[in-house]
Assembly symmetry: C2
Homo-oligomer: 152 residues x 2
């Protein structure tokens, strides 16, 4: 049971917790992203899901990707935009976002504030897919998505 | 796919979301509890866990219970106390609480503020057990727990 977290772990300040490491979002160069960190809040192997906290610095973004597994997201702090499929929405604290299977998605922080969000995900899950040039061209044919992808 | 939630569901005010019903915590009379509501934020059958939001009114409490499945809790709003095993802790916003298997636990809101918390739990899980008189007597032998259980 060395994996078991302590029963109580304190919030130290917004987006930081005692005994929760701030990790790289992904391996550098594995996929495009900018200014984002990852923390695993709950990852006990006896839980069928993990609860992670991601924080994107102002002007940063997550990877544009899709996968079979679902993402269940709650915005935790800050403001930004979220693309899911063919929709781009402004998002703010406590908004809920359900990312369906095999649906392109990306999170972008505003230029003024970080964007922090909780993401629940199945422990057993497939690897994300990146868009190829044809898929990216298709996405960019939507002017709202093109503007989103090109935003600072 | 009639079960699939909308992609975006807005936070309407603290602890309330568009298209998320505020439910009874448990069936009335099923177990002791006081002034607590339940909302299922994410319950898609393709997610191996559910993310629920519970809110306890000032002076209220959840059921004192235990079960094999784990609870992964983040305090969302307000203040209160949480008993896990033989420990009673003051808790506040964003504190993380890991409730181990078969460990007695209860949440109590302060008398001044509601206590709202997120709870991630396996979709497939066992039913909670309530303490019998002997078990309750054993818990009450700990003066800190007795004071907690008797707090308003």
């Amino acid at each position: 049971m060395t994996d078991a977290p302590k029963t109580f772990r304190r919030a130290e300040r917004t987006g930081r917790w005692a005994e929760v490491d701030v990790l790289a979002y992904k391996a550098e160069g594995a996929a495009p992203f900018k200014d984002i960190t990852r923390q695993v809040l709950f990852g006990d192997p006896n839980l069928a899901c993990e609860l992670r906290y991601f924080e994107i610095a102002p002007g940063g973004h997550s990877t544009l990707e899709r996968h079979e597994h679902l993402h269940a997201v709650m915005i935790f702090r800050g403001r930004g935009q979220c693309m899911v499929g063919d929709r781009v929405m402004d998002v703010g604290p406590h908004d809920l976002i359900s990312i369906p299977s095999l649906t392109w998605h990306q999170f972008r922080a505003s230029t003024e504030e970080p964007l922090g969000f909780l993401c629940m995900v199945n422990r057993e899950r497939d690897r994300p897919q990146l868009p190829n040039d044809a898929e990216l061209g298709e996405l960019r044919a939507n002017v709202a998505i093109a503007a989103f992808l090109d935003s600072a």
